[in-house]
Amino acid sequence: MKRTPLYLAHKDLGARLIDFAGWEMPIQYTSILEEYRAVREAAGLFDVSHMGNLMICGEGAEDDLRNLLTNDIKGIPEGRGIYAHMLDNEGLIIDDAMVFRILSKAYMLMPNAATVSRVEEWIMEHVQSEVTNVTDRIVTLAIQGPRAASILQKLTEYDLSKLKRMRGAFITLQIGEDAQAFLPEIFQVDLPLAGIHSYVMRSGYTGEDGFEILIEADNSILVWNAILDAGHSYGLIPCGLGARDLLRLEMGFLLSGTDFNGEQSTLQTGPEWAIKWEHQFIGRDSLLKQRDKILTKLVGVELLEKAIPRHGNIIRVDGSNIGMITSGTMSPLLGKGIALAYVNEEFSMPGQELDVIIRDKSVQAKVVRLPFIGKR
């Protein structure tokens, strides 16, 4: 199994490790619920280095990415990111990912751990620009929660209030005496006099304010410990994938490989805003053909009785099977069972009543709007 450069730090913190897409990752340090609450109420720190980092560079990079992604990066300024789906020729989702324009002709795409190699191959087949997989050189830390900005601000002179959502910037973290560069051969940014150079994005997968911090693997333990120290008095704790899954599901964010697995299109999963029809992209023609056909759609489902929906539970209306759950949990914030599920389109409107079959018992539920917990 692959390990991130922070593996030993996780072990020292008493993390329970699991296999996630071939990576040995912390699922929890102390308690999934405690870590969940830290992120909703204070702050949490995640190692998400299993996510991929693919650089697409050169004159044609913008056109290449426009052709590969459902959302349109045309003309976005440096330091701006978007969320998009990458489709195959049939319009089926290969992966969902963020892409940032880091420099004028250098973009970074961040695919999911399980799909990095598939995405890389797909890009290689379809682009002229230079593609570099820098996943193994980069550690990605996510600091998430209402106090994330105050904590990170302690470690940098950069005014983080200037960094808006889905924006990124090169930021020097005031950690250590030495100057540490961040991928200098790619970015050719001047070295800081002292401190660790990083690329910081105001983004995340939890619904809270927060940042995703890219650093070189060699500096990761210093940065990890510095953030834990800086955040300690703010209630920041290290958080694992268990809490991350609860947090993302309450927001209705998709989990690659679980909520889509190569057999669904963006028309089924949404979000609609991730498709910009005005530009040409791979899979667009297939999507247009699908538009008028009846499809199953991914919806939010809330249980009206006490129970927990799980991946694979069947959904019925009037005794007929009309759908299946892909992700489910007990929402700590709502105190209710919530799930993402594919249902036949005619039953996909908010308010639609459903029965979820959990261990042979029928549990009342209804379709609700996402996010489950409202806009944060």
């Binding site: 329970r16 699922i27 929890q28 308690s31 999934i32 619920l33 969940y36 268990g242 609860l246 006490k306 129970a307 927990i308 799980r310 949990t329 007990m330 700590p332 069972g337 261990r359």
Partner: protein, 130 residues
């Protein structure tokens, strides 16, 4: 096996990680410390119904954590005569106090010799070490 798992000497155990305590010819059951650690935070429980006649091995309850779900099986033949309804509102008692406040049910045994078939603390410890 991790050293931080509590196994009580005065209890009996099943291979399915339930503990069993004998009380006046009845048995009180719950899930072991090992089981609750494996499950992680318990957030929901399906309790057995009072008066249910159970056969050894029957599923009599479900414990769900944020991560997964586990069945609790009847360790003996008998009848459910008491249920810990506090768990409905306080499912985390399974985590905080697996051997005391987190008990699940009391079963009146049909044949008290079945208690002797259960694992003792040493046998359970050995099973966990495997």
């Amino acid at each position: 096996m991790a050293d931080n798992i509590e196994i009580r000497e005065d209890l009996r155990y099943t291979t399915n990680d339930e503990w069993v305590k004998i009380e006046n010819g009845n048995i009180r059951i719950g899930i072991t410390d090992h089981a609750q650690q494996q499950l992680t935070d318990v957030v929901f429980v399906e309790l057995p119904k009072l008066g249910t006649i159970v056969k050894r091995g029957d599923v009599i309850g479900q414990v769900e954590s944020v991560k997964t779900v586990a069945s609790i099986n009847a360790p003996v033949n008998g009848e459910v005569i008491e249920v810990n309804e506090r768990l409905d509102d306080l499912p985390h008692l399974f985590n905080e106090s697996p051997y005391d406040e987190g008990w699940l049910a009391v079963i009146k045994m049909k044949d008290s010799s079945e208690y002797d078939d259960l694992l003792d603390a040493d046998e359970y410890r050995k099973k966990l070490d495997e």
